[in-house]
Subunit: 263 residues, 2 copies
């Protein structure tokens, strides 16, 4: 990882490029079509991913890339970008400033770099394995999860109650029941808010690698914990569940409620 | 209403004062206690309402005021402010920029003026009976709901699936089922997004007068329609349901699904 600073620079440049595209289309009346999985995808989404891919391919041509909108490039490479040009397309389409550009980097399958960027508000989180997460933005907030350890004192968040299938819905309901309060919406932005100590717990399912790859270094670099609902690290091939917590104790308590082979 | 411009100025000054308080506390670690109805209320909430009340009382001492945090003042007056210093306290507490300062004015019980203000992003909607709604903000967006008339093409929004009791949950579920897509979160901000053509439909329940008073002139002044779930205007004493729609045809279609005495 001795070139990590070059990779951070490349990831930030790619986020800048994708963000400029997002801002150009935000709150304009562009058409949204329907993908087969029912999630909306816009012209902005495709243009932003193209912009982002161009920057990364130019700067680090040997790296692979897995994105949401187009086929993977060299996904067997040692270093693979995993990107989502607009995480939270529903937020984007409805004019909410909680969608994010996500740029993650896997090295031998391990997430080592993550950028969460909100291009409209100008907020950006940068997480790097082994370093403290950095945040910049004009609305306040400093990196550092809350010291919450008890579920009944935890602010829980998830993007939508509709993201859970029959296998996960009752387990999420149990967690919601145990938590202090639950708020919906936010997508990757909610994980950024966890890193800022505003949210204590995020539990989600049906995530793709481009949804979680950038989040792992941001959460871990802030001192939080993020795994799947079985407590295993998020890696390619995982089941798409994610549990992020402000503290190890809170994570363990939430895991007890969520895991199939629970207490 | 020949003094309406003075009233608008007063409402804007009150929103400025409340907003300054909100910004000071946003994303800081202030304590949140629990009200009996389980909604969180913060120090910021009380300070913002005091700031707002001071401005309005000084400028228009004969007006009554109904607020969320403190007892009503002269609620039988001809002109009554109906205010919520932080609509969306849950959003505020979790660091989301979708909470709003709401300032509504009822004249003989009819909402004639509404200000929806997001003090962190600097976005403000001003609705006045008989005038076009004005919006200013740095993230783009122009006033004008979408021409959506069909439910199956409508973006539906509501603050939380948890806001519906047993009487309303199945009716909301039916509407959600008929709509194109549903997003959660947003509180009053979602009604502002409807006025900007980003959302087509908002259906909520369990609202208090301070939740809806400011919304009515903003939605109506943008060309939208807002009533309760029976199609009646929102007035003091209504049942706390609200249905806002981009067009009269869409409103009628949603009402057909929602109302108890439906088809």
């Amino acid at each position: 990882l001795d070139q990590i600073d070059d990779w951070i620079t490349a990831a930030e440049a790619a986020a800048d490029a994708a963000g400029a595209t997002c801002r150009r289309h935000f709150r304009t009346s562009i058409g949204a079509d329907q993908k087969t999985d029912e999630s909306p995808v816009t012209i902005a989404d495709r243009e932003a991913e193209q912009a982002l891919r161009r920057v990364l391919a130019e700067r680090l041509p040997a790296f692979g890339l897995i994105g949401e909108e187009f086929p993977p490039v060299n996904p067997e490479a040692r270093c693979v970008w995993v990107v989502d040009p607009i995480d939270g397309t529903r937020a984007f389409i409805t004019g909410r400033t909680t969608f994010c550009v996500l740029i993650g980097l896997l090295v031998e399958g391990v997430p080592v770099l993550g950028v969460i960027d909100q291009p409209v508000t100008g907020e950006r989180w940068i997480g790097v394995a082994g370093r403290g997460t950095r945040f910049r933005g004009r609305f306040g907030g400093t990196v550092g999860p809350k010291p919450t350890t008890r579920l009944d004192q935890a602010e829980l968040s998830c993007s939508s109650p509709d993201m859970f299938g029959p296998a996960h819905a009752p387990r999420f309901a149990a967690l919601k029941n145990a938590a202090l309060r639950t708020s919906f919406g936010g997508d990757a932005y909610a994980y950024g808010l966890l890193a800022l100590g505003q949210i204590d717990l995020v539990a989600e399912a049906s995530l793709q690698p481009y949804d979680w790859a950038a989040l792992v270094p941001v959460i871990e670099g802030a001192g939080g914990v993020i795994t799947d609902w079985a407590g295993a690290p998020l890696r390619l091939g995982c089941d798409g569940t994610a549990l992020a917590a402000a503290t190890p104790a809170l994570h363990a308590a939430a895991l007890d409620v969520l895991r199939t082979d629970g207490p």
